[in-house]
Assembly symmetry: C2
Homo-oligomer: 424 residues x 2
């Protein structure tokens, strides 16, 4: 049996007309794909289908033909007509039976909230004969698990991500691992790089792509980072980690401090860690980023330890009055200039009495450009106990993209300063 | 022909192993679903398949059987092996021919950037016989359009959203409208509501759901808004707009100023519009929101007109020194109190000399709670020429969710003040 099931495959089916109309972005199937891959299950196809009995039945039939496991989300809630349950009952030739325990649980749920239970909630207590119930500890619609005569497994879960995820973690994955005696595991790790373009990263590690099949390596670039994803399939978590670790070490050797984070890490999380470790306090003066840097840093728990003050100084007035940027600098060089960026960094540092002052001024657009100063021109300055650093940047994209690139570049400048001072 | 094509259907196929592994969330198919629906094309199935020739061919064959139009994104870039082009060539029995014009364009693209063109870029200039090229004005890989002997249309586009979207707008939609003589149109409008829970909204407009089939009405709630989506299918844009307008008027009558925006509108955009119209300037003092309010407002072009100053005052020091919050208020009531929120609003207003001062202080967590002050407790104060308003809130969720709810509630308080002063 272990031999037979060595390559276990699953197909993911998401149900809902909202998905086809694009009113809802399907994040469930990405989550499920990732979780199934992690326990060594291959997903070759994913499909979405609307709230239509015939078409859902057609998709389920095909999925059961092609895969060992069919995971279905959606079409189970109280506001839909239980379309998924009906289709599975039809496909597997089962009957719907009222489950008293679920009905009792539903009644208790509603009475605890002083709500009269609607009639359509009763249908949630109907269970196909032979189905195993998957408890839903985050909502009312329970999940279901069925097997057909060929051992094909059907997993039905509601489409609400919070409910579906808990059921997957607590019940579905343990069941699949046990049933299919899964011995292979897939692990992946994402290294995040800033300061090198995608093609430069590609050039520097291209040979690793060609030679490494375990882990495989993939590149993915956005306007604020290049992601390098290492994916390993192995007999154990340890073996996968070892394979990834080997290539990761080599990539880190080649790309050095351009790698700013891994996996769920982010630029602001890394900077927060470095500031905390160095016991340094920061203040920020933001013109074109408009609070984005402070907002990113305060997303990190414990930000009050390292972020003392943020100033969003959109007007020249506030630059002058609060940050003491000399009026002459503003008139002579303009608000978007390295001189003003440096004065802002110095000003906010002095105002708050922190060791570090970070400042950004630029033109996020649309409009606002002047002769020689196009939209996307951004100056970043960092005032430190060791002196002043500044950077001139030219970014592309819309207002929000320019803000994001400016914030990322400013935080990266701070990160590199903190790294360098660690080794001093 | 018009009659025959009355119900035109399309199938969306997204290509990429990253999609199946869940490393990438498929936003392309949601976008395409929406755009196709808008011109009256029905999408009944969506599928995703990995970078595998046989499986892609299988999916394309089935899609062409079921639908009039197959729209494929992904598998066209320079870093993939042109898997999509090869599959379509195989399915439609075509040949790949080198297109000199595309090759020239590619060479020009790279030489303008002083980059040597890699050999795998040449494959982007290979075009299936009989295919029409869809220009890519945002990238290097061109799109392709083919028709088989039964008039089925195949649209191939790269997976990069920015490139795919421009091609869809500029080329694909106009072509489909013309070719299929589309006479029905689907329009939808989303009304965004704040200040009423989902169940209250449901209660107030439930009867409209039951009685209206054109437009249909759907509710979708998140932690910062309840969305009401009206969707109308009609013979003309005007007829659809009329049907939507009728129901919209009734919903606005019932929900009043709880509706803060529609469609692409947002709370910050509405507030920006009201501030600009009233020619009022605002300054913001943010503790637990950490710059999120300023960041949201500065996402709106022209923010410099109405936002004069933002202060992110995470420390008691900065609240005292900069905003002149009395030390006695901080010790007597604590930094998270209505008294301190009011002092902050007043302080930032005075500091910047604006008409309006908005302040938020609260506990975003995790940690930081004290006796009687749990995580999620947030005070918001608005200082206006007409006096002071304040609000005590208790939010649920993680740090980021609490920040988002706080910012949305603060902006909504400002919005309602501005609306009320319009009518005074």
């Amino acid at each position: 049996m272990t031999e037979y099931f060595k390559q276990v495959s699953a197909e993911i089916v998401t149900v809902g007309t909202e998905l086809l109309l694009g009113h809802l972005i399907d994040t469930n199937s990405a989550y499920l794909g990732q979780k199934l891959a992690e326990i060594g299950i291959n997903v070759y196809f994913k499909s979405s289908v609307g709230d239509n009995d015939d078409r859902l039945l057609q998709v389920l039939k095909q999925a059961a033909d092609r895969a060992d496991i069919v995971v279905i989300t959606g079409g189970l809630g109280p506001t839909v007509d239980d379309i998924t349950k009906n289709a599975v009952v039809k496909l597997l030739n089962r009957k719907l039976i009222l489950n008293e325990r679920i009905l009792e649980k539903l009644r208790a749920f509603f009475s605890a909230r002083n709500i009269t239970m609607a009639q359509n909630n009763v249908s949630q207590a109907l269970v196909p004969s032979g189905a195993v119930i998957i408890e839903n500890n985050n909502g009312t619609a329970p999940g279901l698990r069925l097997q057909n005569e060929n051992g094909k497994v059907f997993i039905l879960m509601p489409g609400v991500p919070r409910e579906m995820k808990l059921m997957t973690e607590e019940s579905v994955l343990p069941f699949l691992k046990e049933t299919f005696r899964l011995e292979e595991t897939i692990r992946s790790r994402t290294l995040k790089c800033f300061g090198l373009g995608e093609s430069t990263v590609d050039e520097k590690i291209n040979d690793l792509f060609t030679h490494s099949t375990n882990p495989t390596i993939a590149l993915l670039a956005s306007h604020t980072e290049v992601m390098i994803r290492l994916t390993s399939k192995a007999k154990s978590v340890e073996a996968a980690a070892e394979a990834i670790g080997r290539v990761e070490t080599e990539i880190l050797r080649r790309l050095g401090e351009n790698i700013f984070a891994a996996d769920e890490g982010s630029m602001e999380r890394t900077v927060a860690g470095l500031l905390t470790a160095a016991k340094l306090q920061l203040s920020v003066a933001e013109s074109c980023t408009g609070g984005l840097i402070a907002n990113k840093l305060t997303d990190i728990p414990g930000a009050s330890k390292f972020l003392k003050l943020g100033i969003v100084c959109y007007s020249n007035d506030s630059k002058e009055e609060l940050l003491k940027v000399p009026a002459t600098a503003l008139t002579k060089y303009g608000a978007v200039s390295s001189q003003v960026a440096e004065e802002m960094a110095l000003g906010v540092k002095k105002l708050s009495g922190t060791a570090l002052g970070l400042a950004v001024t630029g033109i996020a657009g649309p409009g606002g450009e002047t002769a020689g100063k196009p939209v996307g021109l951004v100056y970043i300055a960092l005032s430190t106990p060791a002196g002043m650093q500044f950077k001139e940047c030219r970014f592309n994209g819309d207002r929000v993209k320019i803000k994001e690139q400016s914030a990322q570049t400013a935080l990266d400048m701070l990160r590199r300063y903190l790294l360098a001072s660690q080794t001093r």
